[in-house]
């Protein structure tokens, strides 16, 4: 199913759509994190960011593999390397350039908190054994991503004047991209009806409470939830940044489709 198609009708189409939405968020976010490799603020944090990147790319790979099995594609690489930017269903937040360390941490915290509540609900709901098994496996790592990024928000916010200013700026800058976390379109609703997704509204307050309490503890100001919010990425309307990211990520595979690791 490509991006501008109609609402998925069968259970399998709905499942593939959800798998790709989850996987695209994780692949693109993981790729952005991988850009820190060798550039982290400290050796240990460099390794931590690379670990989270590998976890997220791993989550994406397992979700893509299942989609590939359902759609009869060769493997997960098809989705990662041979689709164009308008086919990607990730939210814009994860494709934004990595920015400074504060921006990376702010994004990780907002997204991991969202993933934490989303996965918690999905595990209770998803009526597909293989998909649910993956979610349970990923969930353990998501808990750690949340813990790690939350602790950093506290330390940067309640740290030096510079770290406080940088993480506050990061939250202010990224805020307009948080709306998409809770957008529900017809494909999502169709998946909810088929027991493959959940109404994200059901945990929006939990997410807000965690974000508010963390930012307050970090002596930060919570930006306005009612400000203008970016939308449309799930339907393929991306920022300019995704194309550049894909050019770098896909170049080798597209130029040498049969290349192998030796």
């Amino acid at each position: 199913m490509s991006t501008f198609d109609t609402i998925p009708q069968t259970k399998q189409d709905a499942l593939v759509e959800i798998l790709l939405r989850l996987a695209d968020d994780r692949l693109i976010h993981g790729h952005r994190l991988s850009e820190w490799a060798g550039h982290g603020p400290e050796l240990e944090e460099d390794l931590a960011l690379a670990n989270v990147a590998l976890d997220m790319i791993g989550h994406a790979a397992s979700l893509y593999s299942y989609a590939a099995e359902l759609e009869g594609k060769k493997d997960e690489d098809y989705y990662a390397y041979f689709r164009d930017d308008t086919d990607f269903k990730n939210i814009a937040m994860v494709e934004l350039p990595k920015g400074d360390f504060a921006f990376t941490i702010a994004r990780q915290f907002l997204f991991s908190a969202y993933s934490y509540f989303l996965y918690q609900e999905l595990i209770k709901t998803v009526d597909d054994e293989q998909f649910n098994g993956m979610l349970q496996k990923h969930f353990k790592e998501i808990k750690y991503h949340l813990r790690h990024s939350r602790e950093w928000v506290l330390r940067l916010g309640d740290g030096t004047d510079e770290s406080h200013q940088r993480i506050q700026d990061a939250f202010d800058e990224i805020w307009m991209y948080t709306g998409e976390l809770f957008d529900m379109d017809d494909a999502d609703k169709s998946a909810v009806e088929k027991g493959l997704f959940v109404d994200v509204e059901s945990f929006k307050n939990d997410w807000k409470n965690l974000v508010n309490s963390t930012l307050e503890e970090a002596t930060l100001t919570v930006p306005d939830y009612d400000q203008y919010m970016y939308s449309g990425s799930r339907q393929g309307r991306h920022t300019e940044h995704l194309g550049h990211l894909l050019a770098q990520m896909q170049f080798l595979r597209r130029s040498y489709p049969d290349a192998e690791w030796k």
Binding site: A37, E42, E44, E45, L47, A50, L54, R155
Partner: protein
């Protein structure tokens, strides 16, 4: 990619540690010693060390550095400066006296015939 990250860790360790010892304005995070417990009931073993600003981050850095291959089930982290070590000069008085006391090893004693028979 996993393998690559491990090589690169080793590489960075070799590069960074000697440099930081020479720098005058050392803004590096404090060092922590990491111990891990391989299994329930087993004694903790020394894994290595990490830099971290505080105890919680030391635990997290220990997790990211030393819990990559099912090493164990629990960690201790201790500020390295809190460890008191014996000096090389202590080696003689501390350890040499045991050299001529083989009876402190269980193997020194022969097992009675009646016990051997039961095997």
């Amino acid at each position: 990619m996993l393998l690559y990250s491990d090589f690169w860790l080793l590489f960075l360790r070799l590069q960074i540690i000697p440099m930081s010892k020479n720098s005058e304005n050392n803004t590096e995070w404090p060092l922590w010693e990491v111990f891990y417990q391989p299994k329930d009931g087993k004694p903790f073993e020394h894994a290595g060390s990490v830099h971290a600003p505080d105890a919680e981050m030391a635990l997290q850095n220990a997790r990211d550095t030393y819990a990559r291959r099912n090493e164990g089930i629990a960690f201790w982290v201790v500020p390295s400066e809190q460890i008191t070590a014996s000096t090389p000069e202590d080696q003689g008085p501390f350890f040499d006296p045991a050299n001529d006391k083989p009876y402190r090893h269980p193997q020194f004693y022969s097992v009675p015939r009646a016990v051997k028979k039961r095997k």
